[in-house]
Symmetry: C2
Subunit: 144 residues, 2 copies
DNA sequence: CTAAGTGCAAAATGTTTGCATACTT
DNA sequence: AAGTATGCAAACATTTTGCACTTAG
């Protein structure tokens, strides 16, 4: 979880800068590659993958792995936001694919329960709740 | 969620039969391939993948996709068991990789909360909680 | 000057697909 | 007989890695 980078490189700065401009947005490694290309700031994809993983370790990014066929996506969290004030949970709709962000106090009770009763320290940045969102549920009902 | 298979084949029967003997166990497609080979009941891997996916749709199996580098794993649930009696939650340790099963009433409150307050119908079979397990936490502490 | 980071192209991995063959009904 | 499933091998997509080269400190 600690910082691993020894050197500060141009590529790392460009990457972090870009991510910082899109807080709350989910980006795949490929999205980022494309963006860089279209900016003329081309960074090699291996570097992107390497830095991304590192930033996750540092707690600056969170990573969501939906499944093996969907590229992982990354979201800027920032160094500060996870001090404890605003844990963020995510729900992924299995139907329409939308990813819903939740800042919910009640949900934070889960962490405590898991810790207290199961000795498990939840990483809420990495955990994604799968299910069907409101909109898709309504569609289902009206279709019957 | 509805049955999709039209024909009942030998391979499907062998597969279901094997899965049925290991309820609550997590198996990867590869585990199953290997088992079949070692049994002399070799089933092609494409068939295994195809049937597995189908069984998930039918609600007989649940599938956990940890991330792109980890093969998905499948667990026998059975046609009956998800009537509502025993929702199963899973915690995945990010450190040692172990997958912990939880049959916990309190956790089921999450489903209700998500439904009631966020209009989201949780699929607990597909949801995995990431974090650090008890054992790894102790190791961490003793190492400092 | 040395350690670390970059980027290409190649490898690795898990999963899916095309197609000829075989099986179910 | 018609429709479906099988199984091989090839295709895929994402991510990782080997290595020569560049850059940061």
């Amino acid at each position: 979880m600690a910082s691993r980078t020894k050197y500060r490189t141009k590529q790392r700065d460009i990457l972090v800068e870009f991510l910082k401009t899109s807080p709350g947005v989910h980006l795949t490694a490929n999205d980022i590659c494309e963006h860089m290309k279209s900016c003329g700031e081309s960074i090699g994809q291996s570097t992107i993958y390497r830095r991304l993983e590192e930033l996750v370790d540092e707690g600056i990014l969170s990573k969501y792995s939906i499944d093996a066929n969907t590229p992982a996506c990354f979201e800027y969290i920032g160094k500060d936001s996870h001090s404890d004030g605003g844990t963020c949970f995510h729900c992924k709709c299995e139907k329409c694919g939308s990813l819903i962000h939740m800042h919910c106090d009640e949900m934070e009770g889960i962490s405590e329960h898991l810790m207290g009763h199961h000795g498990f320290r939840l990483n809420s940045m990495r955990t994604v709740f799968y299910g069907i969102c409101k909109d898709c549920m309504q569609e289902d009902e009206s279709r019957v």
